[in-house]
């Protein structure tokens, strides 16, 4: 029998079957934030290219960036960036064999959420009110 005639192979259990745990949330969010930031890099390239091109191109960029939609996107990418940064530092620590127990993951997860949310609001607060 050729491979295509065989009945489908059983799959290993996938997302839907597991009870949610903090390790799982952190792992998924690290990847999701990495992919979100990759999309966000387009906005970074647009910013730099438009500033290098001239006033017309730059005004077009600024028009989008300061629109409600643009601001929501930028705020979201700031959050994704701080989350990915904190979570990435946790990955680098875990690579050294430290912080790999479940209680450590729970503590780290709490810390990552609090710090990344605080930094996101802190930075936007600075931009809008304090600079």
């Amino acid at each position: 029998m050729s491979a295509s005639q065989l009945p489908p192979r059983p799959l290993s259990p996938h997302i839907g079957i597991w009870k949610w745990s903090i390790n799982m949330v952190l792992s998924i969010l690290h990847r999701a934030s990495g992919i979100a930031l990759s999309v966000g890099s387009l906005m970074l390239v647009w910013f730099l290219a438009s500033a290098a091109t001239g006033p017309e191109a730059y005004d077009c960029f600024i028009g989008f960036a300061t629109s409600v939609f643009g601001q929501i996107l930028l705020f979201g990418w700031t959050g994704a960036m701080f989350f990915h940064l904190c979570s990435g530092i946790r990955h680098l620590i875990m690579d050294t064999g430290r912080m790999i127990t479940i209680p450590a993951a729970e503590k780290a997860g709490f810390f990552i959420f609090v710090v990344s949310i605080a930094l996101t609001f802190g930075l936007w607060g600075c931009i809008k009110f304090f600079f």
């Binding site: 990759s38 730099l48 990435g88």
Partner: protein
């Protein structure tokens, strides 16, 4: 090139016959991801802080161009772009390797690399263009302005 590892007991006869197993790209990928992750920490923080400062100052085009007119800023930004985009290409590669079951998977993997290189070159060219646009004799005045 033949690798010593190929002849060890780690690879079974069937895997050897089928040509399966490591293509010896894994460690290099892992190191690249980790080294760019470490480099990203200061570089991304600096870039985000710079953009935030420019935004808070009104995001005027002249300010942005003057900012990148300072050699240190242009150099740091190109370094940040290199680290970010290399990290991004490696990261997206893993995500595609894990999730894509399409016949076009090899095409997606190549596209990620091509698009990432295109983005890096476009962004770096833009930074360098602003960096070189500034008359060097006026540099000190501009750097002071952008502070």
């Amino acid at each position: 090139m033949a690798h010593k590892w190929e002849d060890t007991a780690f690879k079974g006869p069937m895997a050897r016959a089928k040509g399966l197993g490591s293509a010896h790209a894994g460690l290099h990928h892992w190191m690249g991801q980790k080294l760019t992750a470490i480099a990203n920490i200061p570089l991304v923080l600096w870039a985000v802080w710079s953009f935030a400062s420019l935004a808070a100052a009104g995001a005027e085009l002249a300010d942005v161009q003057a900012f990148f007119g300072a050699p240190a800023h242009a150099i740091l930004m190109v370094l940040a772009l290199a680290s970010i985009f290399y990290h991004m290409a490696l990261g997206l590669q893993v995500a595609i390797e894990d999730y894509s079951h399409s016949a076009f998977k090899p095409v997606f993997l190549m596209l990620v690399k091509l698009v990432t290189v295109a983005l890096f070159v476009t962004a770096s060219f833009s930074v360098l263009k602003m960096g070189f646009a500034v008359d060097v004799t006026d540099m000190s005045a501009l750097v002071q302005q952008s502070m």
